[in-house]
């Protein structure tokens, strides 16, 4: 247990140390703090984009989801691959436009493209609403990891406070460079840990990966294929499409995109990233390995599947290393999310509403907001747990609503207007939150449709409403396009 604690402390110190060192030699103005002066090449952008895959949600959630639900977990492997293909074509356009106009955030992009400050504020609000639950999720995961890996010596609320403290320090000190460099250590550790566990557990416990799946198939028939109704293959297809649309719409992902030094960076990344995220396969294997060996976890406890099986089969020092890797999967995305949220509020909500604020004041305000946002997230983390998954789903369905107006703005013969974009986003977000909080499904709402369509991910409805509003309102409010908007 002592060894385990030492590893956990080391992980926290390394994260902090790298964050502080990363700033050396770079003057911290707005463009440097947020997008590293757009100087990142293939490797650093790769680290940022790749780093976003390995959050606590995939580390704990991926294993937990396969443990709890079986086949539906396959979607987490499929959607990012589709998203990278979309990114190949979409991201260079976004990057070029943002670089030409010195834009450092996602609402900047929308506001500039549609020539509407109000639209920028709306996009920023949607972004913040989506980011907060995502941050809460990282902190919740951090609590689970530290308390499990320390064998209960550190209670999860202490871990949540310590983690938030570390994030505050290194976000304020180093900005996005800290995240990129810590991501190297994080990904190297996660990679080693996950690949090792994903191979060793099936071989040690079952005698091979294929033997493990045969054993599961015997014990739980139908667990390894999609059910005929509910989370069926049609749910799978619609969910993959929907989440791949939302993938690059997260505000902090946009920030990673803007750090690139040219458009080719993304095209190269679209070749390598699909292979890199195959690592998730090993996370899924860990979850399946736990199915027959540590049965009985229900509800929220399925997130513990990875640690339960590691504690049951491996010595404490390995538990410590797994915990250390887990801490980094929470700290790195957590700090990026915090930075994105503070920049959104300072620059795109406060800054857009008052004209007389300089860039240096925005940086100062954003840095002051970092502890505020994190303490708010700590409060949400400790005050409730049952709604977190619901909130994450809301977050994802919110950011996906930004996809149609974005695609509309990139078209050569564009017909979408700012009024259309606003109507679409607001309508889509309203429908998305109603659907999620009232636990609707397509089948319940539209029972006359064929059963395949009834199984579609319910988010499709919000997106459809969004697109219809976007097109209809744009058609009504169309006017000649100005030269600045086309570019």
């Amino acid at each position: 247990m002592i060894i385990s604690l030492i590893f956990l402390a080391l992980a926290a110190l390394v994260a902090l140390g790298l964050g502080v060192c990363a700033r050396s030699g770079h003057k911290m103005d707005l463009e440097e703090w947020t997008v590293g002066n757009r100087g990142f090449g293939f490797f650093l952008v790769f680290l940022l984009l790749a780093g976003e895959i390995y959050t606590t949600f995939t580390f704990l959630g991926g294993a937990g989801y396969s443990y709890g639900f079986g086949a539906p977990v396959y979607y987490i492997l499929a959607y990012s691959s589709v998203a990278y293909v979309i990114g190949y074509f979409m991201l260079p356009h976004i990057w070029r436009y943002a670089a030409n106009h010195h834009l450092v955030s996602q609402p900047d992009f929308f506001a500039h493209k549609y020539d509407s400050k109000i639209l920028g504020v709306i996009v920023a609000v949607v972004g913040v609403l989506a980011l907060i639950p995502y941050l809460v999720l990282q902190l919740t995961g951090l609590g689970i990891i530290v308390s499990a890996a320390s064998f209960g010596a550190i209670p999860d609320w202490v871990a949540v406070f310590l983690g938030a403290g570390i994030m505050i320090i290194y976000v304020i000190v180093s900005g996005i460079r800290g995240s990129a460099w810590t991501a190297i250590v994080k990904d190297a550790m996660v990679l080693t840990v996950v690949v090792f566990l994903g191979i060793w557990l099936p071989f040690h416990l079952y005698g091979g990966v294929d033997k493990m799946f045969l054993a599961i198939n015997n014990a739980k028939p139908n667990f390894l294929t999609f059910p005929a109704h509910g989370k069926s293959v049609w749910w799978f297809v619609s969910t993959v499409i929907l989440t791949s649309f939302g993938f690059f719409m997260w505000p902090h992902t946009t920030v990673s995109v803007l750090t690139a030094k040219n458009g080719r960076v993304f095209r190269k990344n679209a070749i390598v990233l699909p292979l890199y995220q195959l690592i998730l396969l090993f996370v899924i294997l860990v979850g399946f390995a736990a199915v027959l060996k540590v049965p009985g976890l229900k509800g929220h406890d399925i997130d513990l599947a990875l640690f339960k099986i590691v504690i049951a089969t491996l010595p404490p020092w390995v538990v410590g290393i797994v915990g250390a890797a887990g801490i980094l999967t929470a700290l790195v995305p957590g700090s990026m999310i915090t930075m994105a949220a503070s920049t959104l509020i300072a620059r795109n909500i406060y800054g857009a509403c008052s004209n007389k604020i300089s860039d240096s004041q925005i940086v100062l305000l954003a840095k002051c907001l970092v502890p505020v946002i994190l303490m708010f997230a700590v409060y949400l983390t400790l005050s409730g747990d049952s709604t977190v998954v619901t909130l994450l789903l809301v977050g994802y369905s919110f950011v996906t609503q930004l996809f149609p107006p974005l695609i509309g703005s990139l078209m050569k013969n564009r017909f979408t207007t700012k009024e259309g974009a606003m109507a679409g986003i607001i309508g889509g977000v309203a429908v998305a939150s109603w659907l999620t909080f009232s636990h609707q499904s397509v089948g319940k709402l539209l029972p006359f449709l064929p059963s395949q369509i009834q199984d579609f991910n319910v988010g499709i409805i919000a997106l459809t409403v969004n697109i219809v509003l976007l097109i209809a309102v744009s058609a009504v409010t169309r006017r000649p396009v100005t030269a600045a908007m086309v570019d």
Partner: protein
Amino acid sequence: MRLVHWIAALPCIIMLAGVVLHNKVFPLLLWLPFPLGWIALWIVMTSVVMAFVYSIDKNNKTETGDNAR
């Protein structure tokens, strides 16, 4: 859509279609249940196809890799 768009969409479509058409555990593919193995296989193929798309995409011939308009 240009030709490169269609080529790039192909592995995605095949990946999803395979799962819909053969949602069965057997035959195991790469030691995995068929749908999982199929997805893993086509992720690798996505990478291969995107490398090919990169090599024929004329946007990458310019010095900065900007989109030719």
